[in-house]
Amino acid sequence: MAKSKARVKVPKSVKKGEVFQVKTLISHKMETGQRKNKKTGKKIPRMIINKFVCQYNGKDVFVADWAPAISANPYMAFYVTAADSGNLDFTWTDDKGNVTKKSAKLNVTG
């Protein structure tokens, strides 16, 4: 799987001011840079997702710097407080600069 695929789960609708959970999952091999090629003895270069950003209507609400100890196909769950209806935009950036984007609609009532 050369290209990363992402899955995102947000509630269908939330009340204004409510704290809701956002869950994300992305496919990535997350090569640590510590492993060696068994045949040649050479180190396999590090290749991980180093940055994860979640924007809520254009504003950063959750930002994380990831490190090599994080497993392949990382799952990330966090909480956001509902303000207005709009979009949640997720961005994953890896060491080679590949960017995976995903966005979800959020409906805020009341």
């Binding site: 799987m1 899955r7 999952l25 496919s27 497993s71 392949a72 990330m76 769950a77």
Partner: protein, 267 residues
């Protein structure tokens, strides 16, 4: 154990609260048992169970998505996709996995879903068959088996399949390797006990291809067979070999009545 699954860290707060819920849930794994047959699920830690239970935290679902895309992708000289012949996967592929592996009259052998996919690709799509254990073939197999999730395994072992079934049974009971162990010694006689730090399961295949935490990806039954054979220091057979096909049939029969769990999470 250098690696940490992010979710367990990030959702640590939530997990503390959910911890109580999962312990009560553990008693409620009746659907993963059939008579004296227990799915690998029943041997999992509460954390791994929680990971499998929810589709968004189950990394195997990425392969389901990948397979769904491949199902609709046109490939080969005939200009067809899987969908072009079969129609909607939710309808056409429902229950299919419960009957595989099965006897095929054309090749006069046992075929599994991987074989069937490649036969279709060659015959009807005029496309190149996928390599065994390639990400495409895995994704397609996961996707097809996923359509039968929750349905009980029910393979046919009579008629022309009898001979192959018996070969599979023989393989299962045959000692092999420097350790001189047969499949049955761990997975039948001592299931539920420990081999060093590992909890031995019954070796059921109802969740395959499973997302294995050790592999950090999904893998087929044959990969698991090869790993097991290497562990007893025997020379493993090749992917898609007749030996493993027959064994897969026997093991699927051993797990009759267990629900298809693909993509399961295993450690």
């Amino acid at each position: 154990m250098g690696k940490v699954h992010l979710g367990l860290l990030a959702a640590a707060g939530a997990m503390l609260a959910a911890g109580f819920a999962t312990t009560t849930l553990a008693a409620d794994d009746k659907m993963y048992r059939s008579d004296d047959r227990n799915s690998g699920y029943t041997y999992l830690t509460p954390q791994s169970k929680a990971m499998q239970d929810e589709d968004i935290s189950n990394p195997g679902m990425i392969w389901v998505d990948e397979g769904a895309a491949l199902y609709e992708k046109v490939d080969g000289e005939a200009g067809k996709s899987c969908k072009a012949c079969h129609g909607k996967a939710e309808v056409a592929m429902k229950g299919v996995a419960t009957t595989f592996p099965k006897y095929d009259d054309n090749i006069k052998k046992i075929k599994n879903i991987e074989t069937q996919v490649n036969m279709c690709r060659k015959k009807h799509m005029k496309a190149k068959p996928w390599k065994y254990e390639s990400s495409q073939l895995l994704a397609m197999t996961v996707f097809i088996r996923h359509q039968s999730r929750g349905m009980p395994m029910n393979v046919s072992v009579d008629g022309p399949a009898v001979k192959f079934f018996q070969d599979g049974e023989k393989f299962f009971n045959q000692r092999r390797g420097s350790l001189d162990l047969a499949c049955k010694h761990c997975h039948q006689d001592h299931a539920g006990k420990k081999a060093r730090a590992n909890l031995l399961t019954q070796g059921q295949t109802n969740g395959f291809p499973t997302y294995r935490l050790k592999w950090q990806k999904v893998g087929s039954t044959h990969r698991r067979f090869r790993g097991c054979n290497k562990n007893v220091r025997a020379t493993p057979y090749k992917y898609a070999s007749d030996e493993y096909m027959n064994l897969e049939l026997y093991v699927a029969w051993r797990g009759r009545g267990l629900p298809v769990e693909t993509p399961a999470v295993r450690n």
